[in-house]
Structures are given as structure tokens and as C-alpha cells.
């Protein structure tokens, strides 16, 4: 089980959280202007990296807030966290 660094509450067990997918995917302001290719890419294509991954979590059984983390998808170790709306920090080694 992961120990997830919530920027509001500190490290808490994974059971308190809901995973919310890749971070930084911005919804297009006016989807009607997009062609099918771009809209499909926004909805479905993901980086799915083997290595460092920026991802969203929600501390659903805690403070209830969304935030983002860097996690290595091979080691599952966390390398930093930031609040929703903040600029992503450099990953902590």
C-alpha cells in the first residue's frame, strides 16, 4: 500500500485516497472548435510513462481535496507533491 504525501495532511495510507489519473490534462476551452482527432486525443490518449508520472489524487477520506504528485511508476516511490492550481515543482530525487 502506498503512503501518499497529501500537501494538506502529510503522508497517509493509500486507502484514504482516490486516484484521479494523469495530471495536467487541460480541458479544451471550446470543444466544438476541435476536430475529432484532437478531441479523441484529449479524452483518451495518455502518456502512461514507465518512470516519472505526474498524477492527481483526491484525499477523499481525509481533507477531501485534490492535489498532484510525482511518482515513479517502476518503483512506486513519490518524488514530490503540489496543490491543485500550483506550478509543478521539480521532482525531488
Amino acid at each position: 500500500m502506498l503512503l501518499i504525501p497529501c500537501p494538506y495532511c502529510g503522508e497517509r495510507p493509500e486507502l484514504e485516497f482516490a486516484y484521479a489519473g494523469e495530471a495536467g490534462i487541460v480541458r479544451p476551452v471550446d470543444p466544438a472548435l476541435l476536430d475529432d482527432e484532437s478531441w479523441g486525443a484529449f479524452l483518451y490518449q495518455r502518456g502512461n510513462p514507465r518512470g516519472l508520472h505526474g498524477e492527481r489524487w483526491r484525499h477523499v477520506n481525509g481533507c477531501g481535496r485534490f492535489f498532484n504528485t510525482w511518482r515513479n511508476t517502476v518503483s512506486d516511490a513519490f518524488h514530490g507533491a503540489w496543490k491543485a492550481g500550483e506550478t509543478p515543482p521539480e521532482p525531488v530525487p
Binding site: L2, Y19, G40, Y44, Q45, R46, G47, R50, E55, T73
Partner: protein, 417 residues
């Protein structure tokens, strides 16, 4: 190829079984191939086998970064069934079941395919309605599936607890009698041996590090840890690592990779006659011929390539198993592990051409790829050889995520995701 038969067994017995040869070669890569398959699991080896046998490609290589059958082929719970809801899926998976029925003869290798029946339990009114819909849809599509009352389910699987005291009592079950299990390692080894006999080079410990394309953008070669290998046709069958490989050709995929766990108990005498699955309380169980109870748990919530999962995920499944089969409560678990499964947004696979000429992909099997192994290999080989899909896999394109023509088994599949 040294054919296996009763006669061969008797003859080898005379020398104390010390004269059996290697089942496949371990060649160094040639400079150029007609087709290269990346990924030496069941699907990749089956693809190479069909390319060589059905389509006359004589220079085919399978590149495997570790050893054959060491990924999800060796990590799954070996359940084979075809009772999917949508016509396109039922056709795809039933095509595979029909090939499974002949596979030991086709490969001259005992894959221990056992049609012992897969029974899926309903615990809620919703389950019951959904499963009955499945039963009807399957029968219209020519796939066997039948509805059982709780008493009939218990008669089919005597260890099952159908008592009213359960938190989620069994309200009935859907049974596919043609469904069953096979020996996963034998599937990889059987395909490897049969493909090798047709001249396919199976190159283990050879990771692909780059995809080389010509001025027109078409595939020209792959860079590997054993050097550059030329090919005009490249088939990627890399399960959880598909996104990484396709990234080498500049493609972003509609895939995410999750750890899926399984575990086995200590071996016991035959106690469990079939396969039982429950979506609602999330458990899959069967008994291997070694006697271990083979138990499938869920995926972790987050993407990962770690090939292990969290303990609370397998604990959740074991709680369900203990509720369904109280006599297993004192069994000890021997091993648990994870495999990295590549999941598409609609939970159906992609077996298709890609926007890059000469590059083909067979991925997105998610939590249930083993059952499709022979069909997947057969259809993907057809797609690679003809540069066009077979009628059965024609709906399973990448472009369906652009065009909105999903095969939306996400909610409708017989499994929970």
C-alpha cells in the same frame, strides 16, 4: 521438431529420458527479417506461429526482452471463456475458444485445455438482470451460456456457499460450459516450439530500444540491445509496455498500465471442479492440476509498471473467497504477484494497423488477454501479413477512440474493472 507421441515417450524411456532435445533454438538475430514481433508472450508467439504457418513468411523473429512467457502469460489465472456481451467481442473471443479446442493437436503440445465450465455469480438484482441479458445475447450470437438457480449452481460447484447468511447471497449464476482453463506455460512453450520448427527465430534477452523509420515514415528497422535489426513489418505485442514501445514511433496510445494481482494457495487434493467468478464481490477461483487454488484479485487504482500490487487488493479478494467457500478459510497462500495489464478506455483490445506504415499493434487486452491467445495470434498475423484486418478484428481499431465507435465492454463485460 521432435514430435511428441506415445511412441516417442516409450522410445525416450529406453534412454532414461536423457535424450530429449531442446524444444526451440536460441539463435542470434539476423540482419533482416520479413516481420518482427516484439513481445514473446503467448500472443506474440502465436502471431509468429501463424505468420510462418498460414502466410508463408519464412523470416520471422520474436524479440523478447526477458524470457518467453515470463510476463502476463505466466502471471494470469488462465481463465478461458467467450461470454462477452457485444457481438464483436463474442465473435472475437469465441474464435479463440474454437482454436483452443484444437490447440494441443495444432501444436503437438499438451496445453491442458480443460473445458470445466466458468460460472459467474449474481449477488444483486442488478447482477441477475445483467447476466440474464448476457445469456440471451450470447445465445443469439451462437455462444453457449445458461442461467442457473442457486441450487443448480451449488450442484455444479458443491463447495459454493449459497446460504442466506452471506453479506451478498448468491441469487443465481451464468454458466458457460465450454469455458475453462489451460496451462499457461505450456501455451507459451507450445507456440515457441511450433513457431521455431517453422523457422521463426525466438530471440530472448533482447529489448527493443528504438524504432527506425525511413524518409516516408515507414518502419525500416528496430534498435535493440543486440544491435539494429531490419524489417519492413513490425508487430508490437507488448502488453503493459505497449505505450513505451509505441512512443518510440512517436505515437501516443489510449492505454494505461495497471498492476493486476493473482495468488495461489498451498496445493490440496482436488476440491474444486470448475471456475467461479464473482464481479460484485470480486473474486476468481479455480484449482490447478498441481492442486493449488488459483485466485485472481483486482487491479491497483493507479498506473504502475512494478509487477506487484498492494496487499489490501488481494486481501479484499480473499475475504470474498472465504465468504463464498468457507472451507478455504484455513488454507495458506503460497505466492502472490502482479502483472502489468494495458487497459483501453472501453476495455476492448486493439488489434490493428497504426498510422505508421509497417507498424502494427496488438494491445489493450487489459485484465483478460490469456483467453484470447490463439485467436489474437491468428488475427494479428492476418493483419500483419495482409496489411489489413481480418473481418473478426476489423472493429478493434485504434481509430475507434477518435470516431466514437467503442466496443464498450467496460460496463458490459462479464468482469469487474
Amino acid at each position: 521438431m521432435q514430435r511428441f507421441s506415445g511412441f516417442a515417450l516409450a522410445r525416450q524411456a529406453l534412454s532414461g529420458h536423457t535424450a530429449w532435445g531442446r524444444q526451440w533454438r536460441s539463435p542470434e538475430p539476423q540482419a533482416q527479417y520479413d516481420a518482427i514481433i516484439v513481445g514473446g508472450g503467448g500472443h506474440g508467439l502465436a502471431t509468429a506461429f501463424h505468420l510462418a504457418r498460414d502466410h508463408g513468411l519464412r523470416r520471422v523473429a520474436v524479440l523478447e526482452k526477458a524470457w518467453v512467457g515470463g510476463g502476463n502469460t505466466g502471471r494470469n489465472t488462465t481463465i478461458i471463456r467467450s461470454n462477452y456481451l457485444f457481438d464483436a467481442s463474442a465473435r472475437l473471443y469465441d474464435h479463440a475458444v474454437k482454436l483452443w479446442e484444437q490447440l494441443s493437436q495444432t501444436l503437438n503440445y499438451n496445453v491442458m485445455f480443460s473445458q470445466r465450465g466458468v460460472m459467474m455469480l449474481a449477488h444483486t438484482v442488478h447482477d441477475e438482470q445483467v447476466f440474464k441479458r448476457h445469456v440471451h445475447a450470447n445465445r443469439l450470437a451462437g455462444v453457449d451460456n445458461e442461467w442457473l438457480t442457486p441450487e443448480q449452481a451449488k450442484a455444479f460447484c458443491p463447495p459454493l456457499n449459497i446460504g442466506p447468511g452471506m453479506r451478498y447471497p448468491v441469487l443465481g449464476a451464468a454458466l458457460q460450459r465450454r469455458a475453462g482453463v489451460a496451462r499457461h506455460d505450456a501455451v507459451a512453450w507450445g507456440y515457441a516450439r511450433a513457431a521455431d520448427a517453422l523457422g521463426v527465430d525466438i530471440i530472448e534477452n533482447c529489448a527493443v530500444t528504438g524504432i527506425v523509420r525511413n524518409a516516408q515514415g515507414a518502419v525500416q528497422a528496430v534498435e535493440t540491445t543486440k544491435g539494429r535489426i531490419g524489417t519492413a513489418k513490425l508487430g508490437v505485442v507488448a502488453a503493459g509496455n505497449t505505450s513505451v514501445l509505441m512512443g518510440m514511433a512517436g505515437l501516443r496510445m489510449p492505454l494505461e498500465s495497471y498492476p493486476l494481482q493473482a495468488l495461489v494457495s498451498e496445493p490440496v487434493k482436488p476440491v474444486f471442479p470448475c471456475v467461479v467468478m464473482s464481479n460484485t464481490i470480486h473474486a476468481y477461483i479455480s484449482q490447478s492440476d498441481k492442486g493449488e487454488l488459483v485466485i485472481g484479485a483486482g487491479t491497483d487504482a493507479y498506473i504502475s509498471y512494478s509487477q506487484r500490487g498492494a496487499l489490501h487488493v488481494s486481501t479484499h479478494t480473499l475475504e470474498a473467497i472465504c465468504e463464498l467457500f468457507p472451507q478455504f478459510r484455513r488454507l495458506r497462500m503460497l505466492r502472490n504477484w502482479g502483472g502489468i495489464v494495458d487497459v483501453t478506455p472501453d476495455r476492448s483490445p486493439i488489434i490493428a494497423k497504426t498510422p505508421v506504415p509497417g507498424l502494427y499493434v496488438n494491445c489493450g487486452w487489459g485484465t483478460g488477454g490469456f483467453k484470447a491467445t490463439p485467436g489474437s495470434g491468428h488475427l494479428f498475423a492476418y493483419t500483419v501479413a495482409h496489411d489489413a484486418p481480418h473481418a473478426i478484428n476489423a472493429p478493434f481499431t485504434m481509430e475507434r477512440f477518435r470516431d466514437g465507435t467503442m466496443i464498450d465492454e467496460a460496463a458490459a463485460a462479464a468482469v469487474a474493472h
